[in-house]
Symmetry: C2
Subunit: 289 residues, 2 copies
Amino acid sequence: MCCPNVIEKVRQRISRRDLLKSTGAAAAGVLAAGCKTTAKAAPATEPVSFTRVVDLSHTLHPDFPAWFVPGEEKTFGTKTFLPPAIVEVERVFKYEEIKINLSKVSYWEHVGTHMDAPNHFSEGSSVEKIPAEDLVLPLAVIDIKARAARDPLALVTLEDVKAWESKHGRIPERACLAMNSGWAAHVNTPKFKSPNADGAHQQPAFHIDAIEFIMEERNVVSIAVDTFSFDNLHSPEYDVHNAWLGDERWGIEVVNNLDDVPAAGATVVVGQPKIQGGTGGPNRVMALV
Amino acid sequence: MCCPNVIEKVRQRISRRDLLKSTGAAAAGVLAAGCKTTAKAAPATEPVSFTRVVDLSHTLHPDFPAWFVPGEEKTFGTKTFLPPAIVEVERVFKYEEIKINLSKVSYWEHVGTHMDAPNHFSEGSSVEKIPAEDLVLPLAVIDIKARAARDPLALVTLEDVKAWESKHGRIPERACLAMNSGWAAHVNTPKFKSPNADGAHQQPAFHIDAIEFIMEERNVVSIAVDTFSFDNLHSPEYDVHNAWLGDERWGIEVVNNLDDVPAAGATVVVGQPKIQGGTGGPNRVMALV
């Protein structure tokens, strides 16, 4: 089902671009497509080839850094929450007793390398609705490591996107656009959260201008970051989350090993468990190179 | 780390095959490789190509069938367990309240389309130890649908493996060997468990002879079934689980849509979340065709 605000947003964008004036049929098609995914459908494709696999997921463990601290109250709006452990793996069956091991696993969804589904910041689709063909995408990696090393609030800007295109050509159709800020190397160190004087987390993220450009002018299915948020203190109202996820799109956070893939030419595979109603959650992301 | 019983098993197998007599260096290599995975390492590969993606995972929901019934006691050896819900997705943050949705997810690991890691039936590796390059494999599918339609305890036999090879050539190096019993079509019906007069589940599975053949004579990394167990009532002591997982190997259960992939030539991608210490768990399996 397509929620009214998604339809309205797509309608507004089409209107803004005056698409209706020039290409009424195409615009109507985009509007209809918005109910499943805002990015355009897959065209008949050329074969994709690869010779090696790169692991883009971190191992999730109880000390893995997140946007919350277990047991430390977190307030959103008028609500205060008490976050649980990052992940609990409680061994229920024990090999030493019955020759079988089995654990009960539990977590708040947005920990480790994970997806944000549209419904994390909207009334849009939950995670199991994302079709498999949308989980295998050309990967475009924008490297802002040098700037991020100087500024933990560095942003992927519209200029970065255009510079990438100057070097590698137009962002491929139905791409995943990833930020490589070098943050994956800090994942088990205090640098990953880089708190400021007030204790607020600092980490690189996307600039809303870059996001609006790829929403309006390119056909990008997913965004990805090697930090734990698409937004940082430059967008305290979660502009990127609201714009991107609110437009029936999704993305991946806390990605690993982007240094091991080329800026252009790899294929990302997002191994997202299909848990009904989920708003995202831990997954296995790999690159085919 | 390689546990002693894995080293010993690999040593026994090498001894049994008299590999040490003829190819000492190669045998020593296999022994060393046993610490990571029993299957042989990836050779320099030819490029793999694909043009489409097939979803091989089911959606996991609270009514999904499993080898246990929530709230109904289950006994293994001297221990009795009270299984919880198949999966719990408890919405903690609510969009209607704070413009963010987020859920707490919990499950016993072996539900839905999922992996059995070596440590599910051994003291071997947990799920996060399986390297990404082992999660992308040539897929060989053995179709026993006709036999399974007549007999819910049908088995993939050694003869089935040999018949597959007669038609498609030798099982590819580092393959995933899958059983297509047609059971995926029954997943939300009573037929999936097909209880006998005593209430015991009936479902197709692998014959231990087929498993021993692919362990001894072929280089197979993973097995896969479209039912919820590699074993059935023909092997009540879990012969296949013990032999395969106990040999530092892994597999996938409750796979979907095997009718939509060719018997030979596809590539399986096992999107397995890297949860430290896990014995397997829900994942996203896809085929690249």
